[in-house]
């Protein structure tokens, strides 16, 4: 494969990784309304994980 072929593959891989990271972090930032957060197992998406 030509050098520019590898360059395109590398750029696509980088773009995919960035896209996945952004999507995962956006999902982790998604908000909700938490009640009675005493039970850590049931605290859902808003458990304050970090």
């Amino acid at each position: 494969m030509q050098w520019w072929g590898w360059l395109i593959v590398a750029l696509v891989v980088i773009a995919l990784i960035v896209g996945v990271v952004v999507a995962v972090q956006a999902r982790r930032r998604r908000g909700g309304v938490i009640v009675d957060p005493a039970d850590p197992a049931g605290s859902g998406p808003g458990s304050g994980e970090s």
């Binding site: 990271v21 930032r29 309304v33 938490i34 009640v35 009675d36 005493a38 970090s50």
Partner: protein, 192 residues
């Protein structure tokens, strides 16, 4: 205002520093009011933060930002959650929970929570209603309607119980909903 309008709102110090954004709204232990917020970082790559924000540390809840005095207003998320925890509940996100009347009628599932800041200088952030996707019992199945809540309300992550008379005060939009909440609560006080 709807809690969905609060989440993602930036948290800004009075010095103008943008320190976080709102992630979750946390019900206070007694129910009926907002106890605080969990936070997420700003920017595309930021995730949830270990720091949270108690309602008592909020200087103002504006239409575009949540104002705090300075970064010292932030505290560990776990202490915000612990202070808002009560016993016996299952915990969790109430969005998607089923609303039942105390007579056992399903009113629908929660899609948003309506809060109202009462008193000057951000005195208290009361939870005044639920926005639900209506069930058959309300006669408008599938539409979004607003259900008023009593001053203090039992809430867990599974079922949300409201007085059966709440059905009579269901609203269609936020305009006029405050009056419906007042009338509903006055009726409950009259019964008590």
């Amino acid at each position: 205002m709807r809690t969905s309008a609060i989440t993602k709102r930036p948290v800004v110090t009075l010095d103008g520093e943008d320190v976080a954004q709102i992630k979750d709204v946390v019900y206070s232990a007694g129910g009926g009011a907002v106890g605080g917020f969990t936070l997420a970082g700003r920017g595309l790559f930021a995730g949830p933060l270990k720091q949270g924000l108690a309602w008592s540390s909020v200087a103002a809840l504006g239409s575009d930002a949540v104002m705090i005095a300075d970064e010292d207003a932030l505290e560990p998320t776990q202490s915000v959650l612990d202070r808002s925890a009560s016993t016996g509940g299952s915990g969790g996100d109430i969005l998607g929970s089923q609303v039942l009347t105390d007579s056992g009628t399903d009113l629908g599932t929660v899609v948003d929570v309506i809060v109202e800041v009462s008193g000057a200088d951000s005195g208290q952030c009361d939870v005044v209603g639920y926005e639900v996707e209506a069930s058959q019992a309300l006669g408008t199945k599938g539409t979004k309607v607003l259900i008023p809540l009593p001053d203090a309300v039992a809430a867990s992550g599974e079922h949300l119980i409201v007085p059966a008379s709440a059905k009579d005060f269901v609203g269609q939009d936020l305009a006029g909903f405050g009056a419906a909440v007042e009338a509903f609560r006055a009726q409950l006080r009259g019964q008590g």
